[in-house]
C-alpha cells in the first residue's frame, strides 16, 4: 500500500544520494565540447557616463574570441531586460519603467552594471583580458542609500523619475482609517528600517549558452528557479527567438531563495555570444560578483501608526513605506512592496481599518526583488514590532494583547481591509502550542538564571500570517502581473506501472523528487521507488511557472493531483472493461480497481499494462496509453501562519546577543513529508535570524557596496544558531485538493521581529526602547551605553 510512503510520511529523500556522492549536476559542472568562457567588465562606479570602451588590447590577448559591448547589443537588436509586473500609482499613472539594456549603453547605474563581455577559450584568459578592457567613465553624482534618495535634491538615478520615485501606490481606505484614529484611546507610532540583505544561495549564479547553427537551436543551462519563465522572457522580450528554438535547462540548483527567479542579463548574453563566437559560452559568477549582481532583498524605511481603543482592541493601522528598487526594475520587484507586502499588513489580526502608502524609489544599487518571504517579512516585522511596542506602551501583557486581536477561528473566511480573504486558520491554537512547547511558564526562572550569570535574558514573540501559492492568474493579472501563476504537470504511467511525473515547479533544495513521489504513492498505491520526478527542462516539461512563494506543493502538487485524477478515471474505464462491470461500479483504492462490494480486482499495474497492450480493451471509447496533463490555477492564495518565540541572552559587557532558544508553531496546512517541512522551517529561521542579528548589505552614499564578501557580510554559521523547536497545528487549506498551504518561507517571515522583540525585552530594564536590524554587538552595546547615559543625566 502507498500509505507508508504516502502523505504524512517522513520518507528519506530520493535525491540525496547523488548529492552525497558528489554526482549532483549544477550549472557550472556542465562543460560542453569546445566550451568557451565569459567574464564581464563591470562598473566600479555607482553612477557614471560611459564615454567609450577600448577593447583593442583585450582582443589581442591570447585566447580571446570576442569582446562585446552595449553597442553590439544594440546593433543586434537584443531586447532590454523586462519587468514582469506593472504597478500603477495612486493617480492611475503607470510606474516609471526605465530601459534595462543587457550591457550598459551610455551610462552605468550601479556598481556591477555590466559594460563589456569578454569571451575566451579559458576562464583564466577571459579574466586576464577583461582587465585589459579600458572603459572611459565620467562619474556622475550617485545615490546609494534609500534614505538619501528620498531627500529633496537627491541625485537622480533616472531623468524620467523625478525624486527617484518609481511609483506612489496605496491600498486600503484612508477615510475609515482617519476615523479610526480619531476615536482611538491610544496611538502607538514606530519608525523603522528593514535592512537590505543579500540572498546568498551557496551556489553562485551561472549560465552556459549554446547555439547549434546546424539546427538553429539555442540551449541554455542556467541557475534558475523557473526555467519556463526564463524561456518565456528570452523568447518574447530579450533574445526574441521562438520557444521551440530555445531550450532552457535548470539542472541541480544550489539554493535560490528568490534570487534565481529573475531573468538576468547574463542568461541572454551567453546565448547571444554563443551564436556570435560559434562556441558554447559559460559564465560563472564569483561570490563578489554575486554580491554586486544578484537581486537583493528588503530595504524599506517605514513609519507605522497603530490605533487602539481603551481596552487594547486594534482600531486602525496607517503605514507609510519607502521601498528601494535599485537602479533597474528586476522581474518581480514592483510586486514585492505592494501586493506581497501591503496586502499582508492586517497580519493575523482583526483590523477594522488599514491604509498604507508605498513609494518605490530608485537607488544606484543592484536591484531589490523577492528574497525568501518577499514583502511578507517586511509586513510582519513592522506589525510585530508595533504590536510589541503597543503592549509596552499600554502596559498590557504581550500575549494577551495579541490574543485579544487575533482573528478567531470562527471568523473565517476573513476579509481583510487590504484585499485578501483568508480562508482558514487557527491562530489561537498555534499561539497556545508555541507557548506550551517553549515552556513560557518557566521563563521567569530562566531569566533569573541568566541574570545570575551576569547576562540579560529577553523573550520575544511574533504572531504572523503569510500569503503563499500566489494566484489566481486572473486576480494577479488585474493587479499588474504580466504572467499567469498557475502550474502544469504531466503524469506518465509506463506499461509496467512505473511513473514519471513532469512538473513545472523546480526543486533547488525543497525535495520535490521525494514529496511529489509521495503524492503519487499515496494516490496510486505504488512505491516511491517506482516514481521519477522530472523538472527543470523546458524540452521535457509541458510548461511551468517554477518554484517560489512557497507555491510548489500547493499549486504544483495540485496540478499533479488533477492529472492523477484523470489517470485514475481513465483507469476506471479500462478496469471496468477488464472486470466486465460498469464504470459506475468501479472504485479505486490502495492501488486496486475493484468492483464495489466484490473481491473482483485489477491492480493498477495490470490496468496500466492493458492501456499500452490494448488487446482486451475498450478501444471504441478509450484511447490506448496512460498519460495525462493538467494545469491548475489556484482559487486563492493560501495563508500559513503561526507563532514564533525567541529567547536571547545578551552579554551586557560586549553587546553580544546569543539566541538561546527558538520555538515555533506553524500552520502550514496538510503536510506531505514532515521531515522536509521541518527542514524548510529550519532554513527559513536561520535566514530570519541572520537578518535580525548578522546580515546587512551595506552601501555607502556613493553606491559602493562596502561589505560584499564573506569577510564582511556575516552569514549565519552553525555556532550562531541554536537547535530549533518546530511544532505544527494543521488546518487544511479549503480551496486546493491537498489542503496544503506552504512552508518555504515561514521561518524567514515570522522570526525576525521575535528576535528583535526579545533583544528589546532583554534591554528594557536598562531603558532601551529601540534597535534596528541587524542587532550587532556594537549596536547593542551602544544602545546600552546611551540608555545608561540617558538615565544618569
Amino acid at each position: 500500500m502507498g500509505n507508508a510512503q504516502g502523505i504524512g510520511a517522513a520518507v528519506k529523500r530520493k535525491e540525496d544520494r547523488r548529492f552525497l556522492v558528489g554526482r549532483g549536476q549544477y550549472t557550472d559542472d556542465v562543460t560542453l565540447p569546445n566550451q568557451s568562457y565569459a567574464v564581464f567588465v563591470r562598473s566600479p562606479y555607482g553612477h557614471a557616463k560611459v564615454n567609450g570602451v577600448e577593447a583593442k588590447a583585450a582582443l589581442a590577448a591570447p585566447g580571446v574570441l570576442a569582446v562585446l559591448t552595449g553597442a553590439d547589443v544594440a546593433a543586434d537588436g537584443l531586447g532590454g531586460i523586462p519587468c514582469g509586473w506593472l504597478v500603477k500609482s495612486k493617480d492611475g499613472s503607470p510606474m516609471v519603467e526605465p530601459p534595462h539594456p543587457a550591457l550598459a549603453q551610455g551610462k552605468v547605474r550601479h556598481v556591477g552594471d555590466p559594460v563589456a563581455m569578454v569571451i575566451a577559450s579559458t576562464k583564466a584568459a577571459a579574466k586576464a583580458a577583461a582587465a585589459l578592457v579600458e572603459v572611459d567613465y565620467e562619474p556622475l553624482p550617485a545615490v546609494g542609500l534609500l534614505a538619501n534618495a528620498i531627500a529633496p535634491g537627491a541625485p537622480q538615478v533616472w531623468d524620467e523619475a523625478p525624486g527617484n520615485v518609481c511609483f506612489d501606490w496605496h491600498i486600503g481606505d484612508p477615510a475609515t482609517t482617519d476615523a479610526a484614529f480619531a476615536k482611538a484611546a491610544h496611538v502607538v507610532e514606530l519608525d523603522l528600517v528593514n535592512n537590505r540583505v543579500a540572498p546568498n544561495p551557496m551556489e553562485p549564479r551561472a549560465a552556459n549558452g549554446n547555439f547549434d547553427g546546424a539546427n538553429d537551436q539555442y540551449t541554455l543551462y542556467t541557475t534558475s528557479q523557473n526555467p519556463h519563465l526564463t524561456r518565456l522572457l528570452l523568447a518574447a522580450f530579450t533574445l526574441k527567438v521562438p520557444e521551440h528554438k530555445l531550450r532552457v535547462i535548470a539542472p541541480d540548483v544550489g539554493g535560490g531563495f528568490g534570487s534565481k527567479i529573475f531573468h538576468y542579463a547574463e542568461e541572454l548574453l551567453v546565448l547571444w555570444a554563443s551564436r556570435r563566437v560559434g562556441r558554447p559560452v559559460k559564465w560563472t559568477s564569483d561570490r563578489m560578483e554575486a554580491f554586486l549582481t544578484d537581486a537583493h532583498g528588503r530595504d524599506h524605511i517605514s513609519n507605522a501608526k497603530l490605533a487602539l481603543d481603551a481596552n487594547g482592541k486594534f482600531l486602525g493601522l496607517r503605514v507609510h513605506t519607502y521601498a528601494a528598487m535599485g537602479a533597474y526594475l528586476s522581474t518581480f520587484a514592483p510586486a514585492v512592496p505592494t501586493y506581497l507586502y501591503a496586502t499582508l499588513l492586517s497580519g493575523p489580526y482583526d483590523f477594522p481599518a488599514i491604509y498604507a502608502e508605498v513609494k518605490a524609489i530608485f537607488t544606484n544599487t543592484v536591484a531589490v526583488d523577492a528574497y525568501r518571504g518577499a514583502g511578507r517579512p517586511e509586513a510582519t516585522y513592522l506589525l510585530e514590532r508595533l504590536v510589541e511596542k503597543a503592549a509596552r506602551q499600554l502596559g498590557m501583557d504581550r500575549v494577551e494583547l495579541r490574543r485579544k486581536n487575533l482573528i478567531r477561528a470562527d471568523q473565517f473566511p476573513y476579509q481583510t481591509q487590504v484585499a485578501l480573504q483568508y480562508d482558514i486558520g487557527d491562530y489561537q491554537a498555534t499561539l497556545d502550542l508555541a507557548l506550551e512547547q517553549a515552556d513560557y511558564a518557566g521563563y521567569a526562572a530562566r531569566a533569573a538564571a541568566s541574570k545570575a550569570k551576569g547576562k540579560l535574558r529577553g523573550f520575544g514573540m511574533s504572531t504572523y500570517i503569510e500569503a503563499c501559492g500566489i494566484a489566481p492568474s486572473a486576480l494577479v493579472g488585474a493587479l499588474g502581473a504580466r504572467a499567469g501563476l498557475y502550474e502544469a504537470a504531466n503524469v506518465r504511467i509506463h506499461p509496467t506501472g512505473s511513473v514519471t511525473v513532469f512538473t513545472g515547479t523546480h526543486s533547488h533544495g525543497q525535495g520535490h523528487e521525494t514529496t511529489f513521489a509521495q503524492l503519487i504513492a499515496d494516490r496510486l498505491g505504488v512505491s516511491t521507488d517506482q516514481v521519477e520526478v522530472v523538472h527543470g527542462d523546458t524540452d521535457r516539461i509541458p510548461f511551468g511557472m517554477g518554484t517560489y512563494g512557497s507555491r510548489s506543493a500547493s499549486v504544483g502538487g495540485s496540478a499533479i493531483v488533477k492529472a492523477l485524477d484523470k489517470i485514475v478515471d481513465k483507469g476506471k474505464k479500462i478496469a471496468a472493461h477488464l472486470l466486465e462491470a460498469s464504470v459506475a461500479d468501479i472504485e479505486f483504492k490502495d492501488g486496486q480497481y475493484r468492483v464495489v462490494g466484490t473481491d473482483r480486482v485489477k491492480a493498477f499495474g495490470e490496468v496500466a499494462f492493458a492501456a499500452y497492450v490494448p488487446h482486451n480493451y475498450p478501444i471504441e471509447t478509450v484511447e490506448p496509453g496512460l498519460e495525462e496533463s493538467a494545469f491548475y490555477d489556484p482559487k486563492n492564495f493560501t495563508f500559513p501562519g503561526g507563532t514564533h518565540l525567541v529567547e536571547v541572552e545578551i552579554d551586557p559587557d560586549t553587546g553580544v546577543v546569543e539566541v538561546a532558544s527558538v520555538t515555533i508553531a506553524d500552520d502550514v496546512g496538510v503536510i506531505i513529508n514532515p521531515m522536509i517541512v521541518d527542514g524548510q522551517a529550519h532554513g527559513g529561521l536561520a535566514q530570519g535570524i541572520g537578518q535580525a542579528l548578522l546580515e546587512e548589505a551595506v552601501y555607502d552614499a556613493e553606491g559602493q557596496l562596502t561589505n560584499g564578501t564573506y569577510m564582511g557580510y556575516c552569514m549565519p554559521r552553525a555556532a550562531d544558531l541554536p537547535n530549533f523547536k518546530v511544532g505544527n497545528h494543521v488546518t487544511a487549506c479549503t480551496h486546493n485538493p491537498l489542503g496544503i498551504k506552504g512552508v518555504g518561507e515561514v521561518g524567514a517571515i515570522g522570526v525576525p521581529p521575535a528576535v528583535i522583540n526579545a533583544v528589546l525585552d532583554a534591554l528594557a530594564p536598562l531603558g532601551v526602547t529601540d534597535i534596528s536590524m541587524p542587532a550587532t554587538p556594537e549596536k547593542v552595546w551602544r544602545a546600552i551605553q546611551a540608555a545608561r547615559a540617558g538615565k544618569g543625566a
Binding site: D653, T654, L694, V698, T706, N707, Y710, M711, G712, Y713, C714, M715, D720, T776, P777, E778, W781, R782
Partner: protein, 264 residues
C-alpha cells in the same frame, strides 16, 4: 591569479638563497594568508618558494622553561599538542580558535608570525609571553619584533624557523572574534611571567601592542576588578564596520578582564 615560478627546496639554505636570488619571490607556508590575497590579485609574487619539504621545522619541543615550536607547525598541531596544553594551555587554546578547522589544518605558526596580520591571534601570545622569534640568521625578541601594519623586524628574505615561548606561571587569551571573518576584533593575552605581568592586545591597533596601564594595575592585583576604570586611548585604534575605535577600546578592557578571570 597570475602565474609564477614554483620551487620546493629541501634545505633552509636553499630556500633562503632562492628567495634572495629572485626578485618578487615569497615563501609559501600554509598559504592561508598568502593565497587569499593572491586570488584577489592583491599580491603577485613572481616565484613561490614552498617551505613544505624543509626538514625539522614542524617539531614541538618543551625544554625546561621553554616551548619551542617549529615555524611549520600548523595551528591544529599546536592546538592538539599535549605538550603545549600542559606547559602553556593558553597557547593551545589560542591556536584552537584561529579561523576554522580547515584553516588550522594548513596555516602555520611561522606564516602567522611573519605575516603579522593586525587581526591575527598568535602575535598576542608571542608578545604576551615575551617569546623569541628564531630565524635562519638570528633571533628577534618579541618586544621589538612587531613594527606596524604587516611589518616586522625580519629582513627581506629572512626565514622564521621557530618561535620559543617561555613558559609563564599562568596565562590566558580572550578573543572577541569578527562575526564574519573570525579574525580577532580584539584579542587580549595576559601572562604572569617570571619577568612580571604582560598584557598584549591584538586586533585593536595596526599591530599587536602591550598595555602598560593594564600591566601596572594587574601587577598590583591580578584580578579582573583591578582593571576597572582603565581606559584604552582610541587614537591609534582600528575602526571598521565591525567595530569603532571606541568599541574596540571598550572591548580591550572587557577581554583583558576575561583573560584574567581565566588565567591558569
Amino acid at each position: 591569479m597570475k602565474d609564477f615560478e614554483f620551487h620546493r627546496p629541501a634545505s633552509i639554505k636553499h630556500a633562503v638563497a632562492l628567495v634572495a636570488g629572485t626578485a618578487g619571490a615569497k615563501y609559501l607556508a600554509g598559504g592561508q594568508s598568502l593565497l587569499p590575497v593572491m586570488k584577489l590579485d592583491l599580491a603577485e609574487p613572481t616565484a613561490l618558494v614552498s617551505l613544505a619539504r624543509l626538514p625539522g621545522l614542524a617539531d614541538i619541543r618543551v625544554d625546561g622553561g621553554t616551548v619551542a615550536i617549529g615555524a611549520l607547525c600548523t595551528h591544529d598541531q599546536v592546538a592538539r599538542s599535549a605538550d603545549v596544553a600542559k606547559a602553556i594551555p593558553a597557547l593551545a587554546e589560542l591556536a584552537s580558535h584561529i579561523g576554522d578547522a580547515q584553516v588550522r589544518n594548513r596555516g602555520t605558526l611561522g606564516g602567522s608570525v611573519a605575516h603579522a596580520d593586525p587581526a591575527a591571534d598568535y602575535p598576542a601570545a608571542v608578545l604576551g609571553l615575551g617569546a623569541t622569534i628564531v630565524t635562519d640568521r638570528g633571533r628577534h625578541p618579541a618586544d621589538t619584533y612587531f613594527k606596524g601594519l604587516f611589518e616586522t623586524s625580519l629582513a627581506d628574505g629572512e626565514l622564521v624557523t621557530a618561535v620559543h615561548f617561555p613558559v609563564p606561571k599562568r596565562a590566558a587569551y580572550a578573543k572577541f572574534a569578527h562575526r564574519a571573518s573570525k579574525y580577532a576584533v580584539v584579542g587580549v593575552f595576559v601572562a604572569e611571567t617570571a619577568a612580571g605581568v604582560r598584557v598584549a592586545i591584538t586586533g585593536a591597533g595596526a599591530t599587536v601592542f602591550r598595555s602598560a596601564a593594564m600591566e601596572a594595575a594587574l601587577t598590583t592585583s591580578m584580578t579582573p576588578g583591578a582593571l576597572d576604570g582603565i581606559t584604552v586611548p582610541t587614537d591609534d585604534l582600528n575602526a571598521d564596520a565591525e567595530a569603532s575605535a571606541e568599541y574596540r577600546a571598550h572591548l580591550c578592557v572587557v577581554m583583558a578582564k576575561r583573560a584574567v578571570a581565566a588565567l591558569r
